[in-house]
């Protein structure tokens, strides 16, 4: 028996360890002090997140290093997405700080769950093995199931959690089945180990074309599309998201529509772009079946992207609840990001998502303030005339909505530009045109909110909401991020770009 090489590298999982520790610390303090101060809990979370950011930063440059027997990998995709998740959680914590007290909900558990979810998302990005992807996904999912139902006495919150749970675990079963089939399909008696869930090994086997059963591979890939498609909320697997987003507490919705979506895209990209796409490129030996895999999934995703954008945008037009409208909007945005997936350009997708999460979190921050205690005023008509009553808030919301619409100067535009550019260069012209038309449609409903805010008479009894410092900080960060990524995206893009050569060279 060979001596097992455990390949333990604490550095490689430092970010995850830090976030987990922060979660544990919060719970310990909560347990010891009987009732944890929200500032303490939030502070620990924020410090933990900053620590995780530092840890991610310290990993930068160590690209394509695997650890734990190939279970996780440190590459640009992981690191970049990790940054996205940490940004998401950071802003979510800032948004929640005041809200959690106003709502009188358990504080310690909330922040702990957020941090656990972050850990799950970080693992999803870091995973280099289907097991880890599954685990990360489950950690994220289960913690968000709980967060959706966090306002336990609220029927909407219950319903949100129930629907999310039923549909989420249902789709997880599909993903799992897909994983099992891929595991079986890549059986190669000549290799060691004979069967694997490790993506690196799967990629090599695909490249060499030694497959047990291509049919199983395809069926597995299809079921994984179902699983991931559900998590990123693409049509026709999007249907859970409007209900869940509407019913969940607003900060959770913010987190859900950004973080867990981005995490699913991270794994999605890891499996499909970095494993299934590059394999077919290098599959010189067995063009026969394997050369079909990429066209099969890109074709599917293309149709799904078109459907997703169209449904998201069209249905958003007729919404009257702003949370629900943004839910549909985030469906549409998943569609735009899928455009980048189709082009097999995960960097464009990553940048798109970075911009999207910053803007979307900003928008939800404001919605949370306006919604007030118990999410009571989330109708668009509740925004009537607040434009000049609280100009700053309304202007910020307008900026975010325009950013979502993709107006230049904002991150939304840069993201769209990159994604569309990639898709065009990859030859998906029709897809770009559909995306462009959809963008035009989306202006209609994004503009409706400024219309209501600025162009109509204020509703009686509107009181200017008081903004907490943390929320202002979140808003300022989101606005700065929106413009920074829109105007000076150079540094971020270069950081992303550095990956290009290294990853391609690693593939070869």
């Amino acid at each position: 028996m060979q001596t097992p090489n455990l390949d333990i590298s604490y550095h490689a999982i430092l970010p995850e360890m830090i976030t987990t520790s922060a979660a544990l610390l919060i719970m310990v303090i909560d347990a010891i002090s009987r009732k944890i101060e929200r500032r303490v809990a939030g502070g620990v979370a924020l410090v933990g997140l900053l620590g995780a950011v530092a840890a991610v930063a310290s990993l930068w440059g160590q690209t394509s290093r695997t650890a734990f027997g190939g279970m996780i990998v440190t590459d640009e995709l992981r690191l970049f997405f990790a940054m996205i998740f940490l940004v998401v959680t950071f802003l979510t914590v800032l948004i929640s700080l005041r809200w959690i007290r106003d709502e009188a909900l358990p504080i310690g558990e909330y922040f702990a769950l957020l941090m656990f979810a972050t850990t799950g998302m970080l693992l999803m990005a870091a995973a280099n093995d289907l097991v880890m992807i599954f685990l990360g996904l489950e950690i994220t999912s289960i913690s968000t199931y709980v967060l959706c139902g966090y306002r336990r006495t609220d029927l909407r919150s219950n319903e949100s959690a129930a629907k999310y749970f039923i549909l989420g675990s249902f789709s997880t079963a599909f993903l799992l089945y897909g994983i099992a089939l891929v595991y079986g399909a890549t059986y190669d008696p000549a290799a060691q180990p004979v069967a694997t869930t490790n993506l690196q090994l799967i990629k090599e086997r695909l490249a060499h074309g030694h497959l047990f059963s291509p049919e199983m591979l395809f069926a597995g890939a299809a079921m994984m599309i179902v699983g991931f498609g559900f998590k990123v909320a693409t049509a026709p697997f999007h249907i859970w998201s409007p209900d869940v987003y509407e019913g969940a507490p607003t900060p959770v919705t913010a987190f859900l529509s950004t973080g867990s979506k981005a995490a699913a895209f991270a794994s999605f990209s890891r499996v499909f772009i970095l494993t299934f796409a590059t394999a077919s490129v290098g599959a010189a030996v067995s063009e026969g079946v394997l050369a079909q895999l990429k066209p099969a999934w890109t074709g599917t995703l293309m149709v799904m992207a078109m459907l997703t954008m169209t449904i998201g945008n069209l249905v958003a037009i007729v919404q009257t609840n702003i949370k629900r409208m943004l839910a549909y909007s985030s469906i549409a945005h998943a569609g735009y990001a899928l455009v980048g997936m189709v082009a097999a350009d995960w960097k464009a997708v990553a940048f798109y998502l970075l911009g999207y999460v910053v803007i979307n979190l900003g928008a939800f921050a404001i919605i949370e303030v306006i919604a007030r205690r118990g999410d009571v005023s989330t109708q668009i008509k509740d925004y009537a005339g607040i434009g000049f009553q609280s100009l700053g808030l309304a202007s910020a919301l307008s900026i975010f909505l325009l950013g979502l619409a993709g107006i230049p100067l904002t991150a939304g535009f840069m993201g769209k530009l990159l994604v569309f550019k990639s898709a065009w260069a990859a030859g998906y012209h029709a897809l770009v045109v559909v995306a462009v038309i959809n963008s035009a449609i989306s202006w209609y409903y994004y503009l409706r909110v400024p219309v209501v805010m600025f162009f109509s008479e204020p509703a009686v009894g509107f009181k200017r909401p008081l903004l907490s410092r943390s929320l202002i900080a979140a808003l300022v960060l989101a606005i700065l991020g929106t413009f920074y990524l829109g105007i000076m995206p150079g540094r971020v893009l270069e950081a992303l770009e550095g990956a290009r050569t290294e990853i391609t060279s690693a593939v070869r």
């Binding site: 489950e138 199931y145 139902g149 319903e159 129930a162 039923i166 079963a173 799992l176 089945y177 099992a180």
Partner: protein, 100 residues
Amino acid sequence: MVPLSWYLGLSALIFTIGAVGVFVKRNVITIFLCIELMLNAVNLTLVSLSSFFGDAGGQLFVFIVMTVAAAEAAVGLAIIISIFRNRESLNVDEVDQLKL
């Protein structure tokens, strides 16, 4: 000697039954049971592949899946309890406040 495809076929059959059960049954607990059934079907696939290939990975995966199933069960049942507290019903068709 039972061929591999028999096991896989059985697994697919059970998975199908589970999947159908999720949208046919109304009781939220039964729905949950069906989801568990689906997970078990996948487990059967994994175990049979693992055994036929002589690779422990599949069975290790099953171990992980079982843990996840346990965790899911804990949270899922908690969600069901909190719904029941508010609604006094386990019928998913009554949970339709959020729509359109």
